[in-house]
Symmetry: C2
Subunit: 336 residues, 2 copies
């Protein structure tokens, strides 16, 4: 591997991404130490606590079953705010468009974006549009940033998981990544669509049900559920113990993964969340989540244990024990 | 012209940009009417008034005399906040990098970015990094968003110019655009460099000197001084009268413009501002600006007049009268 060049794996969300962020990007730009990243920054504006986040979207193709790059850009940024427990309020939208892009397709993407924002209760309040010559960008990239407000003083953070806590996943794994891959390859799979959705209304219900019992919220996007759990285990200095039998996967995603040799544990989601919660609150919280349209498949998938910091283990369906590592390299570029 | 496709001119900042924003992008995303755009959105977070802005940077080449895409991305976003009279506080940074990009060049860009942020007094608090396959993006694009705080209740806005007001330009025109063009074409011009700079410290001094007398602040980036003045004239419903003799242009910029047939009035700047101020405050404000390193060439370049809304006229050096229009088409793509 050539250490002098940026590789696709540096954008995967996995091990290479973490190394590039820790060694170069975050250390240079913010001066923060390794592993201090969360989905959004917390800021104090007078008496008001704000969350602030950004994400660039480069998904290929820009239109796919279940959404477009426009709705995806809204959902992803809304979710990064929601994962801090912040109510998403305002978004910015920076478009970079290739010369010759279809105006009708742009209109479709923008309309989908507005609809997603309306549904999520956020306003797109500022933006920028650049057009670059043909061949200098692939169709359209969208960067959204978001500002939200924390209406409580809960500490929801990747470093807060404690031994005994339960791990909850809000629904099935891998739908977004597999839907994108199928769309890109022209594979027609009936019933397969991205799970892209704005999670704030689910988070709001969860905060109302179990507020102080919620230690960590995270949306398992790039790198999937496996990589996100590894991050939480590392930040909190604990071991996570998963039960593979409890991990929800649709037959469609299972089928495509089996054929292509992919592990749904590492496939990106865009409308799912992981929560780490105090044990006494877990069952009631799952019941609450299942009443919400975005949490109908919610399940307790594991527990937090004392033990080696940063370790994730999984009891497999056949009864063995598997060590879960971060995604290494790049499984599938440009899924978000 | 094919109305069904997005053209380079749609990103120029000129007439085509305005039409695309009014007819499609802003109307779809925000529901705002035409011409209501400012450099940033104003938001109320509890008792605190915030400004929020975003810009995508696609400059070619990413390293140029006087800066890099990194410092440019900081300056541009800081300036959009400053033009609302807001103190810039926090930035986000979304990187989209081409596979195979040099890690050393990335380090140089990020280091330049951090230095620009430190100098401007802002912190880069959140970010995102995507890597896309070779050929799907040209080297590196950076989108920065910024959040600032309004520490006063002045109404500084493009619609506030009033007959009798004076128009001030903080320094010479076109240095950024011409430096980028020369770098791209490999033209060696001694003493030619981008004017890219963060203008908040200059704005802060101006607010201290003449706060309530300042009606409009605007940085003349894409489309240059000419296009920005046309925007102000339109938003305020007034005529602007310029004096060409007062417009500062360096000999280097003048020389390159003469050779290439460009008009410095339409060339992009990244470290200059236009101010519209009450007549009684104008002279003292120019004196104050000239004491600041970024305002040494500040000059009164014209006046606001009653008359046809949206009209800009210029008394030329040879004594004639010229009508100033918006930039039509694309003069020079990818200067920011």
């Amino acid at each position: 591997m050539n250490d002098d060049l940026i590789l696709l794996g540096h954008g995967s969300g996995g091990t290479l991404s973490h190394r590039l962020l820790d060694d170069l990007i975050v250390s240079t730009l913010s001066g923060h130490g390794p592993g201090e990243q969360n989905d959004a920054a917390l800021l104090a504006a007078g008496e008001t606590r704000l969350a602030f986040t950004t994400d660039g979207y480069v998904v290929d193709p820009p239109l796919f079953p279940g959404g477009t790059i426009g709705s995806l850009a809204v959902h992803g940024t809304v979710n990064d705010l929601a994962m801090m427990g912040a109510r998403p309020l305002w978004l910015s939208c920076a478009l970079i468009i290739e010369e010759g892009f279809s105006r009708a397709t742009l209109a479709e993407i923008l309309s989908d974006m507005r609809q997603a924002a309306d549904l999520a209760g956020v306003r797109i309040v500022t933006g920028d549009t650049k057009v670059v010559p043909r061949g200098k960008v692939d169709r359209i990239f969208i960067t959204t940033s978001g500002v939200g407000v924390l209406e409580h003083d809960l500490a929801i953070h990747g470093a807060n998981a404690r031994p005994g806590d339960r791990i909850i996943l809000s629904g099935s794994m891998g739908d977004h990544g597999i839907a994108i891959m199928a769309a890109r390859e022209g594979l027609p799979v009936a019933g397969l669509a991205s799970d892209s959705a704005a999670l704030w209304s689910l988070v709001e219900a969860m905060l109302g049900q179990a507020g102080p019992a919620i230690r960590v919220l995270r949306d398992p996007t790039r790198g999937g559920v496996g990589t996100t759990l590894k991050e939480i285990a590392g930040q909190s200095g604990v071991t996570l113990q998963l039960d593979e039998q409890q991990l929800p996967v649709t037959p469609q995603v299972r089928g495509v993964c089996d054929i292509l040799g992919l592990d749904p544990l590492y496939v990106a989601n865009e409308g799912k969340l992981l929560a780490v919660v105090a044990p006494e609150a877990a069952e009631a919280l799952v019941t609450c989540m299942r009443r919400h349209p975005l949490g109908q498949q919610a399940a307790i998938i594991g527990t937090v244990e004392q033990g080696e910091a940063g370790r994730v283990r999984m009891k497999t369906v056949v009864g063995g024990m598997r060590v879960v590592e971060m995604l290494a390299g790049e499984q599938l570029p440009r899924i978000c």
